[in-house]
Each structure stands twice: as C-alpha cells, then as structure tokens.
C-alpha cells in the first residue's frame, strides 16, 4: 500500500459513486484504505454519505475507524446509532482503553445502556474500571489487554499461555512477568524469547529492571518517562505494585501531540483544540475569550495612559514611542515565559533553585536591556530628538525589558507551584499585563525627565 493522500478529486469521485449507490465500487475503494484514512475521509462527507459507507465496512475496520475520528465527529455519528449497535459493532471490537475513551464521551445514562449490551461481563468490567480513572492519568491512558506470565513457569508453559493470551492483544511488545500475587517483577523481551533455549524457566531469563508508573501518574509524566527511556510500552501498577495495565507508545504520541498543540494554542491565545478546518463558529468561540481579556487590559491601559494626560498634552512626542515600549515589553515577556514553560513541560529544569533561576533571568535581561537601550539611545541621538525624549525612551526600554523578563519568568514558576498549567502564562495574559505596566513605567520616567530637563 502506498501512502494515501486525500484529494478533492478522490472525495468527489467517491461522492459520485455513493450517489449512484454503486456498492461494489465503493467497497473496493474502502478495502484499499486504512481506518485512519477512512476517518479522514469522513470529515469530508455528510451524515447520509457517512452512514452509507459505515454499512459497507467490516466490523474491525468500522471499530478502528471510529477510534480515529475526531471527538466531535464521533459523537455526532454515534448519536445517530442505537446503543445496541454501538456495543456490539464497536465497543466489543475495541481494546479496553479505546472502548473506555469512546464511552466516556457519552452521558451517564447512555453509558449504562451501551455497557448493558456488552455480553462478556469481563470486558464490561474492564471498561467500568477504566472509566474511574482521570482521563489525563496513567490509569486513563492504559489498556487492560496485556500478556503476563508467572516467574516460576517454564518456557514451554509460558509459550503456551502466551499463544492463548495473544489472541486478545493487538500487538505484542513486551511480555510482563508477575509473581503469584500479581505483583510486577519484570519483562521478557520477545528478542530474548527468540534467542533462549527452551529448557529454561521464566525467572532465569527475565529482565528485572522494569520501569513502571502508578495509576495516578499524570499523562505528562508518562510521556516524559517513555520519551526519556525510549519505551514502546509502559506497565502500570496499583499502589501495592500489582500490574493493572499497560500504556502503548501510540497513545502517548497522541498525548504528546495534544500537549504540544495545547501549549502552542495557549501561547497564541487560543482556547481549546481547534483546526483551521473547523467551523467559523468553533474558531470564533476559541478565539474571543482571550481577545476580550486583551480588550479589558487595553481599556484599563488607556486609563493608565490617560492619567498622564498632563504630560502628553505638553509633550505629544512621548506618544510616538509608546507602541515600541509596549511591544518590547510584550516580546521579552513572552520569551522568558516560553523558556520556563518549555523547560517545565520537558522536565529539563535542572537543579537550580528558583532564586538562582531568577538571578539568571536577570543576567540575560540585563544584557538584552543594555543592548536595546543603547541602540534606542543612539537612534534618538542621531535623529536629533530632544534630550528628555532620548533619555526617556532609553531609560524606559531598560526598565521595561528587565521588568518584563522577570515577570515573564516568575508567573509560570508560580503557576506551576500552585499546580496550574504554566502554559497559560505565555498567552495574552502576561503580554497584556506587561503592556499596561510598561506604559506606566514609560510615562512615569517621561514625566520625570521632562519636568527635570525641559
């Protein structure tokens, strides 16, 4: 299979086939496609076309496709189907983690209804267990399906049991070794199994240095551990060390991508998870909250500037450099908050104390502020600005850059300390505050120099 790329022509041709009710041709097209491609295709179809296609898919592909759909599209699509169909045709065919993810999007009543149609009580039980965990925790990410063997088994017993267990598991990356109480002892790599003679016992060949997480670990901790130690699967244990599930790397990649997109969106003043293909209404709703905060801040800023009406009346040139000072405060603040936010997210903060970190931020700010205020001074000197203006712009540039740097670094550190996602600090919030305070500093310094020198 070549890699599929969705094109307008492909969608139009398929829509035509659907319109002509050409079941055979549509089925042939679908057979060639990966569930992830069909999910992509779904976003381009209307509900009737989507349903038409859904009836032509075999059960496994239909279940896989549903998982790949965007949350909004999935809810819309599943709403149109009876609970029994959802249980039998989708949930039953999914891994427990995907099943729990899909079911968790329903309201409680619908959840009960769907669960009641699942025949195997163990499957339903697993899903109910997983629904109890927070979505952003290791428990919420893990699947119950895994292959485990006991440490005192012989290799042939082990192989026999693995063959039975493998039927329920999508992919086998590691085989987990537990003791008689179900406590995780280690892993058996498939490579090791390929290379080992058969007259051994599990306990002779397993690897005991296994890295695991507790069910309550955050998804960020999970993704940092899996990235740091290059793991494709991570076992999850309960508080007494019993193996309760495993997290696979594909789920973590999704988490990483979402985390990165969320941080990026927050830094850009967008709330929620939107894409340029979303509706005008969704896009507007994601953008307006921060703009309103910006408006509020800006209106408050206009009062701050207005309180300097006296000096602006007499020396209107002071206004020329207001946008410059505001912009530099904003830029510097975003930079320092972004560096802190990124280091917190990647777990690379190093061992410096908060005090040392701020001192370092001050050193960087001092260098930047010196360069920028000398250049601003040179510019005003060269174009022959009045002395008071030259000194005001340079002085304010220096103070604002230092202040905005420290403020930009401090806010995410504080937010992190009180367990709020520091990423909100890089957004319009810090920028807006820096703008207002920057204007205050600039015009205060301006008043001082103009009163002294003019």
């Amino acid at each position: 299979m070549a890699n599929f790329e969705l094109t307008r022509e492909f969608v139009d041709e398929l829509k035509l086939l659907i319109e002509n009710q050409d079941n055979e041709s549509v089925s042939r097209v679908l057979e060639e496609l990966h569930p992830a491609d069909i999910a992509e295709l779904y976003e381009e179809l209307n509900m009737d076309e989507a349903k038409y296609i859904y009836f032509l898919l075999d059960d496994d592909k239909a279940a896989d496709m549903i998982i790949e759909l965007d949350e909004n599209d999935r809810l819309k699509f599943l709403k149109a189907l009876p609970s029994e169909v959802i249980a039998r045709r989708f949930i039953d065919k999914m891994d427990s983690d995907d099943a729990a993810d899909v079911i968790s999007e329903f309201d409680t009543e619908r959840q009960q209804e769907v669960l009641s149609y699942i025949e195997d009580v163990n499957v339903a039980g697993d899903i109910v267990d997983l629904l109890n965990y927070d979505e952003d925790s290791a428990g919420g990410l893990m699947a119950k399906e895994l292959i485990k063997v006991k440490e005192n088994w012989s290799i042939p017993t082990c192989l026999r049991s693995m063959r039975q267990q493998a039927v329920n598991v999508d992919e086998v990356y590691y085989v987990y070794v537990v003791d008689n109480n179900g406590v995780l002892k280690g892993t058996l790599s498939l490579k090791k199994m390929l290379l080992s003679p058969v007259d051994r016992h599990v306990k002779d060949i397993y690897y005991s240095d296994v890295i695991s997480v507790g069910v309550d670990a955050t998804s960020e901790e999970v993704s940092n551990i899996m990235t740091k130690y290059d793991l494709v699967a991570l076992p999850v244990v309960d508080p007494v060390g019993r193996l309760v599930g495993r997290i696979t790397v594909d789920d973590v990649m999704d988490v990483m991508r979402e985390e990165a997109e969320k941080d990026y969106a927050l830094a850009s003043g967008i709330t929620g998870d939107v894409e340029s293909s979303d509706s005008v209404w969704l896009l507007t709703r994601a953008r307006i909250p921060w703009l309103l905060i910006g408006l509020l801040g800006g209106l408050f800023g206009s009062r701050v500037v207005g309180s300097f009406e006296g000096v602006l009346d007499i020396y209107p040139q002071l206004a020329f450099f207001m946008p410059l000072i505001a912009a530099m405060g904003g830029n510097v603040g975003i930079q320092s908050s972004a560096i802190v936010v990124q280091s917190i997210a990647a777990g690379t903060m190093g061992l410096d104390s908060p005090f040392r970190r701020l001192f370092k931020e001050f050193s960087v700010a001092f260098l930047n502020a010196s360069v920028l205020s000398v250049l601003a001074f040179a510019y005003n000197y060269l174009i022959g600005s009045p002395d008071a203006l030259t000194l005001t712009v340079s002085g304010a540039m220096f103070s604002v850059v230092i202040f905005a740097s420290l403020f930009g670094a401090l806010v995410p550190l504080l937010l992190n300390r009180i367990k709020i996602d520091p990423a909100v600090a890089t957004g319009p919030f810090v920028t807006t505050l820096n703008d207002i305070i920057g204007m205050g500093i600039y015009l205060t310094i301006g008043t001082f120099f103009y009163q002294m020198l003019v």
Copy 2:
C-alpha cells in the same frame, strides 16, 4: 527499579564519593541507573567528575549514555577523547543511526579518523551510507539494523535466520518480508508468529499492506505517518522499492518533541534550541535577534506615529488607545497565524482552497471584530469620551482586527507555498508588522473623524 529522580542531595553525595575516589560505591550507584539518568547526571558534573564516572561504566552503558547526552555536552565530552577510543568504545556499540548522528557532529577530518578505527567494514560502510542523508529526512532518521526474511522461506528457516539476525538488533517490533531483489513486500508480526503453525511458508502468513516511506521523506512526514497509523516502526525504501532501513518510534518521538519545541520557540521569538538550564550567554544569543527586529519595527512605528504629529498635538487623547489597538492587532494576528501553522504541521489543513480558507478567516475575523468594536464603542460612550474618539477607537478596532486576521493567516500560507517553515510567521515578525500597520490605520481613521466632527 523505581523511577529515578535527580535531586541536589543525590548529586552532592555522588560528588563527595568521587572526591574520595570511592570507586566501589560510585560503581554501585551507577549500576542502579539507566543510561538516560546518567546523561542527566552528567549535566551537573564538571569535566573531571564526568571522566571519572566514564571510566567506571561498562561499554554498552557508556555508549547508550553518550547518545542520551545533549548535543553540546556530548561534543565537549568527546573532544577530550582520542578517536580510537570513540570508535572502539562508543561507535562500535551503537545502532547505525545513533552512530551516524554522533559522527555527523564532528568535522570531516575527525569523522574520517573515527571511521578508520572501526574494524568491521560493513559497520563503517553503513555509517558512511547514513551520513549522506539529510538529517531531517527518513534516510537521516533510519537505522540499518533490521530483521528481514524472504517471502519464499518456510517458517523454520525463517525462525533460524531471525535468531541469527536478532543478535544485532536492539528490539524486534516487526520482521520485514522482501523478495529476491530485496524489494519490500510486507511484514510479519511477532504476534502472528506466536500464533501460526510451523508448517507454513512466510508468503502464506505475511501482511502485505505495509506502509513505508522513501528515503527522501521529511521527518515531519515520517512523524505524521507514524502517528496517524499508530506504528512503532516504519520501513524505509529506496526509489525502486528496496528495503534500506527502518525508523523506530523512539527516534520519531524525539523528532516530534523537537519540532513542537522549535515551533513553540519560534512563536515566542526564540531562535535555536535553548532550555532554562543553558548558560546566560546562550540564552541571550537565542533571544536578542528577534528583539532587534522588534526594536527596528518599533522605531519605524515611531516614525509612522510621528507623521501624525499634527493630529496628536491637537487631540492627545488619541494616544490613550494606541496601546490597545496595537495589542489587539498583535493578539489577533498571532491567533490566526497559529491556527494555520498548527494545521499545516499536523497535516490537518483539510481540502479547502486557499481562497475559501481566507474567506473563512474573514468570517471569523468579522465576528470577532464586530464584538470587540461594539464593546469598545459602549465603553467610550459610557465614560463620555468625545464622539470623534469613540468612533475612531471602534472603527480602528474593527479594521485592525480584520486586517490583522487576514494578514496573520496569509503570511504562513505564503511561506509554506515557497517552502519556508511557516512557524516563523507566528513570531514577533508578524506581530511587529501588525503593530506598525495597526498604528497607521488607527491614526488615519482618527485624523478623518477629528477633521470631520471636531
């Protein structure tokens, strides 16, 4: 092994052990640590301490640790070692992709020298092959080590060959099936091998719908494909379809993280890959370029504002709302560029034409602009601002929001068209331009209303 967390106390204790030359205790500590943890530890040690520890590590752990080090730390550390030691102790123990990554950081002369000390000419040849590929391409990401079997083999032949090949491969995720010319035909999953009877042939049980990429695919394409299709390894083929390597998910997770960090850094006006633990000098160097652009833009903006000196002289209140208008232009511009940049990076642009996309951006901007200008109008009306000021602020708010939205969306689309990373568009570049143009719009509208109404 519990998850290790580096603490100041741990580092201090270890430094004390090193100072006392307590080989035995240090070795015992190192034995407990994962190579990734030792790499983290290295960043806290000085060169003498780092070397001391290095001599106590066994070869495999030393090689793994070197790969996990930060690029700067690695270069500094390897510079102090002779080429022969680097070749024998590190390069020889690494997978070909890691070896090529490490060697590519040396200058050409040192590369030659290190390669000449590698005994196995096949190993050296693999590394030389990999060095030819661009670092950010599938060829640059792949390793040569993989397990392949021929489609016409029987399962026992296949198992025997796999056992031999497995010795050289770190982890086995998939076994690749090739024809007699080495052309990739499909994969054999380990699960399938566990479940299949032994009297079959490879061609009866392999999965032919294999997803692969060409050596020239970009690292972004690779990570999008692996995320979309949930793959833990992706085979790489040459232009005629022969299997030349495989990319594993851990390398792609690193790429994803770097890409996300780079985009985030660019959006925040930081060039290059810095962390808050880097030196003051590195941090300043990463931040000053964008600040200089901001300064230049701001100074130019002061000329624009200055050219309206006449109207500001007469109506200094116009200055009160300059920071508000500038900030809103900046905020809106960042939002729309961020949405476009993120959709391009994630490959979720959908099938809309650029024209339709801009029309949609216009619709969103129209909604936002209406809300914001009505609120600004209400505010000025309520506090009793002069009519000319009220109309100017509302009118400029409306125009600036619409302009900045379209401009913010257009720039990354254009950059992407001419193959420049659109992420640069979310940074201070677009913000600064929006500031200047916003001021021009605001003061032009202001001049108009004041001449008409006052």
